[in-house]
Symmetry: C2
Subunit: 407 residues, 2 copies
């Protein structure tokens, strides 16, 4: 008998019928002898409905009151799902974040979980009940209702699994797992059966929007086996994300991620003095522009350096304007920019022990006449910035060269 935490997102519980489907699925797990703790999101559309009511009343609603408002969404779902389980003859009980208690800090709208009191959940489990917990929400030390921010229900699920030392945390979603790359670009993309937290973190931050990155960090920190799987198909296997030591056969490359809509900006020929990076990036970050890749390299002329970074294309004009001012101030040679670039990344824990992955990647791109504009590497990832017209070609040729269709 296993203790499993399952999370169902807004689409999976978006209507009475879907809630009933989810209840059937849960009952099958229960009948198979498992202990179950279920976390749910608000029914799809509900959060938008509530947010627009608030916006009609106040252009910048108090974050405390927004949390009071939005948490009603999951509270509705937990009660309806419990009723649907009762209707199947399956004993169940609902808890809000406050009832559990999921204690968070007091940062309304993006609170962080500090502790979970699991005694109520354990009592209900020992009474053979399915426990249904509202995702996304908690309560601070003073009893104020808080929310965990976007994707917070994933975080709730992982935190509950960590606190209860669950055997597995299953995140049901509308895709059936994590793929070696975007199947819309490479139809031969394969579902990954098992991967490490680190790989998932690199994949998530690079645009494979399957799991919230925070929940993966959380799972990694507390060694919670995390499975992403589809709520739409029968007996899905999904993708298991776990500690590296649990993965027997490590694939060299797990997948190819990509970020579209990037823009590249370079400051050329900056006098190379300490504090240059800070002087360039401070005004950019002050303008609330998020910077992705950062590369500093030696310039052709001695005593000078080149500094390049990428931003989201929406921030391109603003960033370019700031960089031109910085260029004058720092007496640099000039600014180069390109707002038609994408980032393509190879991710895999296996590359740590295999030399030559980077060389092979560059060779593949060279053979396709794809010019590399920037390179950045980490232990388990190599990212290149290329012109956006080469995106599909790069992804497909890398996918084939590293034989990802055979993993």
């Amino acid at each position: 008998m296993a203790l499993i935490v399952q999370k169902y997102g807004g689409t999976s519980v978006g209507s009475v019928e879907r809630i009933q489907e989810v209840a059937k699925k849960i009952k099958r797990f229960k009948d198979a002898g498992n202990d179950l703790v279920i976390t749910v999101s608000a029914m799809s559309g509900e959060t938008n409905r509530l947010t627009s009511l608030a916006k009609d009343i106040h252009s910048q609603p108090s974050t405390r009151e927004m949390d009071v408002l939005l948490t009603t969404g999951e509270q509705v779902t937990i009660s309806l799902l419990s009723m649907a389980l009762h209707d199947l003859g399956c004993d169940a009980i609902s808890y809000t974040g406050s009832q559990v208690k999921i204690i968070t800090d007091s940062v309304h709208g993006k609170a962080r979980i500090q502790s979970i009191d699991d005694h109520r959940i354990r009592n209900s489990l020992s009474e053979n009940k399915v426990v249904v917990v509202a995702g996304f929400q908690g309560v601070d030390e003073s009893g104020n209702i808080t929310t965990l921010g976007r994707g917070g229900s994933d975080t709730t699920a992982v935190a509950l699994a960590a606190s209860l030392r669950a055997d597995e945390c299953q995140i049901y979603t509308d895709v059936d797992g994590v793929y070696t790359t975007d199947p819309r670009i490479e139809p031969n993309a394969k579902k990954i059966n098992i991967m490490s937290y680190e790989e998932m973190l690199e994949m998530a931050s690079l645009g494979s929007k399957v799991l919230q990155i925070r929940s993966v960090e959380f799972a990694s920190k507390y060694h919670v086996p995390l499975r992403v799987l589809s709520s739409m198909i029968e007996n899905p296997e999904g993708t298991l994300i776990t500690s590296e030591e649990n993965i027997m056969e490590k694939a060299i490359i797990s997948g190819i991620a990509h970020n579209q809509d990037e823009a590249k900006l370079s400051l050329i020929g900056v006098p190379d003095k300490p504090g240059i990076a800070f002087q360039i990036l401070k005004p950019i970050s002050d303008a609330n522009i998020e910077v992705d890749m950062i590369v500093q390299s030696v310039s052709a002329r001695e005593g000078l350096t080149n500094f390049a970074f990428t931003v989201h294309r929406n921030d391109y004009d603003k960033a370019l304007n700031i960089l031109e001012n910085i260029c004058k101030k720092l007496d640099a040679i000039g600014v180069q920019s390109d707002d038609k670039v994408v980032k393509v990344s190879l991710v895999g824990i296996g590359m740590r022990s295999h030399a030559g992955i980077a060389a092979k990647m560059f060779e593949v791109l060279h053979n396709e006449n794809i010019n590399i504009e920037m390179i950045s590497t980490s232990e388990i990832k190599i990212s290149v910035v290329i012109n956006e017209k080469y995106l599909e070609l790069a992804v497909r040729s890398l996918h084939s060269a590293f034989e990802l269709e055979n993993i």
Copy 2:
């Protein structure tokens, strides 16, 4: 400076615009220097929406989960009203029933308030905030969410006023007070400016559906001055309901209440033995039929008695059927019944010290040739059952005879 508890019902907060109107009203009270605690219901329509979701899932939803579901309604309203107050530059904070804590027993769906912890409310008041509390809801000792049942928001308001020793509890509704009788029957009906709890209790139970009877009982028990007034008009005075000793000039008659849709059943010629009333009423009550008036009188024949009572017309057929069985069992002479009757009642604390009120009432009805089928009296009320065709005539002639248009 006064401490005022105000309650706004579902219609008053039924849309964003109405919530904004209520916020303006509250701000005027605040600007006048009052401390304010506001209780609100769910936006009109919301409770029905949630209930029908539940009914789609389970024909008899768990009462615990229904309470989890329904309490989201007021939680939405408290956050939106707080935002609307912020928008007017008025500092405000919302609390759910659990947050306050309003401790109730564990009877889901019709819980009773056991205690209120007022320290959070007092802290917020001392920070000069308007405190907005979700009506209708509480939490039991184990942390389960409960609801107080129909009209529960009135009860919340009165209980808060009692706990905080508020100067007044104001119930805003869609009528502008309690009237001497139903204005749809007697256009000369006058709004009553002040009346006692006892009178209001008699009026409420007799069909003047302005206030939930439980909230009046509560107000009476804790001596909370209770004012019913309209949320639709400017500076309403409404009707103040208070202790008898606070009412200087006691009107002899406060008003005329009526119950329509009654049915009368009589068992004629029952052998007069101890336990007769029980033997007749037990099967009726076992069938979940609510009995209103009960009258037992001597029969023309010695050793026999007549037993009569009224029920709601919906229960007439069922009650008649049961009574015919009882008739055989008790060897009574027969059953008489009439499903076309109404009850008309004169209410007033003044009648205690004035003899002859009953005589005058019967005289008025006799002068109009209205036959009285049943009579029942209490200290401050005289009720008669008459044929329903005389309802308007009876109400109007009594209203005029007791000069209620001049109070």
